[in-house]
Symmetry: C2
Subunit: 403 residues, 2 copies
């Protein structure tokens, strides 16, 4: 009997479901959007803001926290929860994604904008910059993006770091291959990722019981090859993980591919474990796409990152793309809130004109107000979805939102 995850309702008309994840730092209602706090802070807001937003869980990035301030310092403080004063659940990634994306992998497109650059351009640039990562059977050697120093992650060291950080949910160490890799490389990488998954699991199981339990998720890879995705789903599902993640360059970034991949892997993954798509949430539409396919958890830097550029989520009646750019001149004199249907602090307090002014004047308050809005917008949509699923109304809600 898995008390970590309980499905509370299965939608009658789709694979969408609601559930409860129990951790030593509180309970998470799923499906859940998880704000990203890369360096021990969700950029521009504080931990009281997170609580006021009713954030259920946040992410930390193992790669960044390992480089600065270091897992040993954080462990000295009793773990990331205490270091950053966030007493709710935390999930840490394995560091693999950043190693590759800040190294020589094309997935840099996912985390940085390289408009107009081809994959070859990016690879060349990285090689010139000496950012090349070296993958071998045992692990990955890479350079710090901060100071160029050389570091090495293995499945064992990644799990060790994550235990030191003390996240409630930790991730197996994987290689997230580029979508441009051929089938043969993708298969080899996937098989290595499977061996790393077993090693991650075994390293994790060696840790003695701590004051609260840490749960380990495995990650399905295989890029956009159906056969590989199925094989990976089957293999990862066969191991004793607490949850199943679906990774890859396309996930979240190419939603058509994401939908296909989720449909491919669905028959192979256990229903009674949480399903997590890594990097989903560029737009409200994306959340519907994955929730409809039985996904319980997802995270993305987009809502907070675009907020800091002045790109703010709105309902479809305001903009069919669900976004406005508050820097636009049309908002200079606009007394309305960002979205009149939004109940966030920013919308209940400040006008578009004021926020426009703050962005134009490059005032720091702009970034906080925008971040609060975008996060509230997503978290509120998740609350709406959970209610709808419980009422078997998920597809109706989707129709209301997407038309």
């Amino acid at each position: 009997m898995n008390t970590f995850f309980t499905i509370t309702h299965q939608d009658k008309n789709s694979r969408a479901r609601t559930g409860i994840i129990k951790t030593g730092h509180g309970t998470i209602e799923t499906p859940v959007f998880m704000p990203v706090g890369t360096q021990g802070t969700v950029k521009s807001i504080d931990q009281d803001d997170l609580r006021a937003l009713e954030t259920e869980i946040i992410l930390g990035n193992t790669y960044h926290l390992h480089l600065r301030p270091g897992e040993d310092l954080i462990a000295q403080f009793g773990g990331l929860h205490k270091f950053m004063h966030w007493n709710g659940p935390i999930l840490t990634d394995s560091g693999g994604f950043q190693v590759f994306s800040l190294g020589n992998n094309t997935r840099i497109k996912k985390s940085e904008s390289n408009v107009g650059e081809t994959i070859v351009d990016v690879q060349k640039k990285h090689i010139e910059q000496g950012k090349l990562v070296t993958i071998d059977e045992d692990g990955v050697t890479f350079r710090s993006h901060l100071d160029g120093s050389t570091h090495r992650f293995t499945p064992e060291s990644s799990i060790d770091i994550q235990h030191k950080l003390g996240a409630d949910i930790i991730m197996a160490f994987d290689e997230c291959t580029s979508d441009t890799a051929d089938a043969s490389y993708t298969r080899a990488a996937m098989e290595r990722t499977h061996r790393w998954a077993e090693r991650s699991l075994s390293a994790h199981q060696k840790f003695e019981a701590a004051d609260y339990q840490r749960f380990l998720f495995g990650i399905i890879q295989g890029a956009n090859y159906k056969e590989l995705r199925e094989a990976s789903a089957e293999y990862i599902s066969s191991l004793d993980f607490d949850g199943i993640a679906i990774g890859g360059e396309s996930i979240g970034y190419n939603m058509a591919a994401t939908a296909n991949i989720l449909d491919w892997v669905n028959p192979f993954i256990p229903e009674d474990k949480p399903h997590y798509t890594m990097g989903v949430g560029y737009s409200p539409v994306d959340l519907f796409t994955v929730v409809e396919r039985g996904i319980d958890m997802f995270d993305c830097v987009a809502p907070t990152r675009i907020a800091r550029n002045g790109t703010l989520f709105v309902h479809r009646d305001i903009n069919p793309g669900y976004k406005i750019n508050i820097n636009n001149a049309q908002f200079r004199t606009d007394p309305s809130p960002i979205d009149p249907a939004c109940s966030c602090y920013t919308c209940e307090t400040y006008s578009r004109a004021y926020i426009h002014h703050l962005f134009r004047a490059e005032e720091l308050l702009a970034y906080r107000l925008a971040t609060l809005h975008n996060l509230h917008f997503f978290l509120d949509l998740m609350r709406e979805m959970r209610v709808a699923i419980k009422d078997d109304n998920f597809l109706e809600l989707k129709k209301t939102w997407l038309g």
Copy 2:
């Protein structure tokens, strides 16, 4: 009977006094430190933060708000209070200080750091940059630091802009001469400032009663010339202003000179009007210096500006200069709050190590937490001072703080 300002207690052992200023947006207990919200926001914090800090009044800068977003837009929103959603008292400066300091005046040293530059260097640079301001009897022509466009302030236009901004307390338009100016220029400028003071008063009196009263302060100039300061104090005090400000390059920037100037003008200024030193508050010491001399109001960008560099106020037992730089390596592993004797949100919640990490990682949260601390530190010291004055213990409190 002046109901705008009431002295509630006069310290028996110094000129320090407590008082109450009544405005249409609430009551201010004096002596009061006024945080600066240059562009319609106190940098990095929001208006709820200001309320949580028990901020009694904030400043707005006429020069900046005139250039962006413009007083007409703000008037369209019903004034600065409504535009920025701050319902407490607001004071606006006349724009004069910025015109001169962002123009060709050496007082730029006060608002920008030009380490190693001589006054001549700064003047040359400004002339090369075409930033020269032109002063004539009627007013000042200057260029915008944003786009180089030409603008003009006169006493009448400054008062007009301030009425449009809708501040509760507004300032007469003055010329803040450089301390390097000779006695003859300083006298001429002071006399012009006196004529501008009369014109400001007359422009102000032409406005019809609004939904709340705006109060006008005159400004004493005269640089570091005793005779001029006395003459200016006598003249400004003879006019029907609601309060008396003491301006000048030295004020706040050179505290020995500030103390002298305050002692010179003291016999000439009316006791029953609020006394305001413009630009005071680089250090806790400075607050004692002016309060001891009967000053009721002061403002300074320093607490918020240095906060964003990681310079944080502490009590003397931690550092004899009342400041630590949280970027220093010694704080990397330090679990204590910034100042264990401080009860601000930052100190009650986060460690020096965490704030050090945020600054090193250039995380936006760093600036907010540091700003909240420095403002609380000053506002709390003011609360301590007011209690001490009421108990005739001001000099004892000063001794406790300064040794």
